[in-house]
Amino acid sequence: MTLEANTAVLTPVAEGLSYAFRAMGSPCEVRVETEDAALATQIGEIVEAEALRIERKFSRYRPDSALSRINSSSGTPLYVDAETTALLNYAAQCFDLSRGLFDVTSGVLRRVWHFDGSDQVPSREQVADLLPLIGWDKICWRAPEIVLPKGMEIDLGGVGKEYAVDSALIRAMAVSNVPILINFGGDLRVSGPRAGGQRWRIALESVDRSGYAEGSLHVSSGALTTSGDARRFLFKDGVRYSHILNPRTGWPIEHPPRSITVAAPTCMEAGVMSTLAMLHGKKAERFLKSEGLQAWCIRSRAARRPLSTRA
């Protein structure tokens, strides 16, 4: 473990002070409505510490993480701690609730799917070979013992960032009552309204032209997450393949929205629901409406145009 230089930055913003740092491969920010730099730094450090802690523990990219320990166990039973138990139980429940659409074992598909804008679409056989290694029901999970069959992997990327936002906010709110907004790469949550009942202003990024705002939201409570393809897709023979893969078939969902922003009381709920909505493809808006969620879907007009080679 190398000691990384503390590259956090404290800057004044419209609402007060912003503590920005990098974690989980994304730009992260904590906005604190205060003029007190020491307080903003303290809160920012607590949030950053929690983000780093969760990243170190649950990142599949780090060989020393608890998750990597599970992924390299190749069939031997492993006992996990309380927090991992809670997250795996949550993943199990989401698998049941979504009838298999939400599946943390589907990460192995990235071995054949590389969404770099090219035309390298895998063959039917390549995808079919991976299907036996996907399926939460194939794992033997009896808390706190997990037996992961050889070749299978667990990827908590679908809930990791959202969990970090919620957990970090809880810790920050334990030390101070000032209004706080935590944003980890687009997954964000506020502690409550700003001083005097004012609302936080959030911009929704355009899917076609980055840097341009599609619209803006005014938030006084809860969380927002955005699922979208941004620049991740494959384009072959005139067909656009979205990066949302159906764990049951191994192939991309057809006609998903380009971007879905969901509002919910916690970041985890917003994240799971936006993922589930994406997996409903064409019926995403209908799903969100039937669940009574406030959401904004953006669909590309380009999909309805004749073939275009624009990447």
């Binding site: 309380a82 809670a86 139980n89 949550y90 199990a92 429940q93 999970w141 009896r142 808390a143």
Partner: protein, 83 residues
């Protein structure tokens, strides 16, 4: 639907019912309990049956030497000459 087909289905349903009944009997209290994700409260320290072993041991020792009954939760013996 022909009468023959209806009878076959009825027989199949009743044999499934009998099988399920036997399984239910065999599994006894299989329906009482919680799903693994409902163990949040049960996992807490304060929900264990013996949270303070030394306090329990002191109680068993005092009550063993001052009362006629003993044990029940664990063994009956006292290990000391106090009764």
């Amino acid at each position: 639907m022909s009468i023959y087909r209806v009878t076959r289905i009825r027989r199949t349903i009743s044999s499934i019912g009998l099988g399920a009944g036997c399984l239910a009997l065999l599994s006894g209290c299989a329906h009482v309990g919680v799903q693994p994700w409902q163990r949040d409260l049960l996992a807490k320290d304060e929900m264990q049956l013996n949270t303070h072993p030394h306090v329990t041991a002191f109680h068993e020792h005092v009550y063993f030497s001052k009362e006629a009954a003993s044990g029940g939760r664990t063994f009956d013996g006292g290990g000391c000459g106090c009764n």
